[in-house]
């Protein structure tokens, strides 16, 4: 399905999501507020996005951006769902109840970014040891054990 058709399809069914939809680098992106994330995810699932491809986060300094990549087998299309949360309150609703696939992926985001997912059944560290201090993928992560590379390009 072409990205423009997807936009029309989406707008036809969920007019409220339509203004949030944009196209970047050939991919459909839906930016929602973090309160609406779970509702939007559930709407998209009803729309036919049956596979959760990826959950990740990006550290933009003041804010974290949560990025969900959804995939629809029936429509042959993919879409990004993005939501920003404040750095001070890194909490967002879990989508584990919609896609079990989110289980480990949200654990990974929790492990590396320290973002808490409300409603996650088993939110523990997954890649690092349980006694690890800090969240390494945050831009401000400091660790004595890191050796910085020489600074030239």
């Amino acid at each position: 399905m072409k990205i423009e058709d997807l936009r029309e399809h989406l707008c036809g069914i969920y007019p409220d999501l339509c203004p949030l939809f944009s196209i970047e680098f050939g991919d459909g992106v839906l930016c929602v507020s973090h309160e609406r994330l779970h509702q939007a995810a559930s709407d998209l699932k009803d729309l036919g996005f049956d596979r959760l491809g990826m959950v990740t986060a990006v550290d933009y300094g003041e804010e974290f951006e949560l990025v969900y990549r959804l995939q629809s087998r029936a429509m042959h299309a993919g879409i990004f769902l993005k939501a920003r949360i404040k750095r001070e309150t890194p909490v967002i609703a879990s989508v584990c109840d919609l896609w079990p696939a989110a289980n480990w992926q949200e654990r990974e985001v929790f492990d590396l970014f320290g973002i808490t997912f409300d409603g996650h059944p088993d939110l523990r560290r997954i890649l690092l040891t349980d006694d690890w201090v800090g969240y390494p993928l945050r831009k401000d992560y400091e660790d004595d054990r890191i050796i910085r590379r020489p600074d030239y390009i």
Partner: protein
């Protein structure tokens, strides 16, 4: 005799920790710890298994023993320097991570790849699929005790590795697919060698299939073990042979076509039952299909440039984010890149198929015996470089 060196010798091997006997309501539960270094965890995975007798009541894979922080490292490196890092993600199929990463960079920087480079990418990635599946099928043999079949598949894999060595001079970490094309053109005589390989490979593959998967014992071991239903396969986000073994008809090469795949005629093998056997057999037939694709690609290959014109040493795409995915041997491998306009990446995320596929292990293993656990784990074919990143 006294102990000399192992003063603080531990009572058991690292593979096994003391029998934790925790009384539950009705049964005595045994906790067995498999890994992190165990012959059939295919790397460094630790699985904590709760046993009732020999039947698994609960198991939990503990990953991260190979978590090297590649995503963090990428944030400090230029776009070209990250290519060797992606090699080390899925070390059984380095070309895939190369390619997925390069596709994301090309999307971000708006680079057009010459046609010949696309064909070469398809050829090497299909060869890589064969090499990777040889490892996957062979380790199914090793897990069930048929070590010889592993040797045979590995001999086939060696042939692919030899082709790769001729191509780019490395056996495992190729650093071959680059943003804008591939690093070098095919050497003289390579096409003929490749054709010779694809001519014999399906037959050799099916012979190994007869030896290993046609065997009555192997079928007894694999059939009905670790059944993943089609609904679960989709909900848990599995992809690749794991999903296709469960009958999920989803292959990015055909359903979200990228590169020059629409020009090839191939079919996507599917399983009925979603058990370990189907997953292994899907791999067998994917190898055969890969040979078909390679043959077609070699027929259509035309001379030309293999690198996009005019790329400077430092790529600095405009700010933004891009995602692209390809069908790797383990499923849909995606790379998500964020650029801030500087020549260094801002963020790289690898959507690792093995990570998502491994998540279903507790689901599959429940109710099976310890012997089946290694078979199920093997049938998921995880590569921990990619799982842990």
């Amino acid at each position: 005799m006294t102990q000399t060196s192992t003063s603080d010798v531990t009572p058991d091997t690292a593979e096994t920790q003391p029998t934790g006997t925790e009384p539950t309501e009705t049964v005595m539960e045994t906790v067995v710890n498999i890994g992190p270094s165990h012959p059939s965890t295919h790397g460094v995975c630790r699985v904590v298994v709760h046993l009732d007798g020999e039947v698994i009541t609960h198991c939990e894979p503990i990953i991260g023993h190979l978590h090297r922080g590649i995503e963090k490292m990428a944030e400090n490196r230029t776009y070209l320097q990250v290519v060797p890092l992606t090699d080390r993600l899925d070390y059984v199929g380095s070309m895939y991570a190369n390619w997925a990463y390069c596709r994301a960079v090309e999307r971000l920087a708006g680079i057009r790849v010459p046609e010949r480079a696309e064909y070469i990418r398809v050829i090497v990635c299909e060869l890589q699929r064969i090499a990777s599946h040889m490892m996957g099928i062979g380790s199914t043999g090793a897990d069930t005790g048929a070590f010889t079949a592993f040797m045979y598949t590995f001999a086939q894999r060696e042939k692919v590795v030899e082709l790769f060595e001729l191509l780019c001079g490395a056996r495992l970490t190729y650093n071959y697919v680059r943003p804008g094309g591939v690093s070098r053109d095919l050497p003289d005589g390579w096409v003929e060698q490749c054709r010779a390989f694809t001519a014999q490979h399906p037959s050799a593959m099916l012979e190994i299939d007869d030896l290993l998967l046609g065997n009555v014992i192997a079928r007894a071991r694999l059939k009905g073990v670790g059944v993943l239903t089609q609904v679960d396969a989709v909900a848990w986000g599995t992809s690749g042979p794991i999903a296709r073994g469960s009958g999920v008809d989803w292959d990015l090469r055909r359903d979200d076509p990228y590169s020059v795949y629409p020009r090839f005629d191939f079919s996507v093998p599917l399983g009925d039952n979603g058990d370990s056997y189907d997953r292994a057999r899907v791999r067998v037939w994917e190898c055969v299909e890969s040979c078909r694709i390679i043959n077609q690609a070699l027929d259509q290959l035309e001379p030309g440039s293999v690198q996009a014109e005019g790329l400077p040493r430092l790529l600095a795409p405009r700010p933004g984010d891009a995602y692209d995915h390809i069908e790797s041997a383990r499923g849909s491998l995606g790379v998500y890149l964020v650029s801030d306009g500087s020549p260094r990446l801002y963020r790289m995320k690898v959507r690792s198929p093995a990570f998502c596929n491994l998540a279903v292990l507790p689901l599959l293993a429940k109710g099976h015996t310890l012997s089946d656990l290694v078979v199920i784990l093997g049938s998921l074919d995880p590569v921990f470089g990619e799982v842990d990143r």
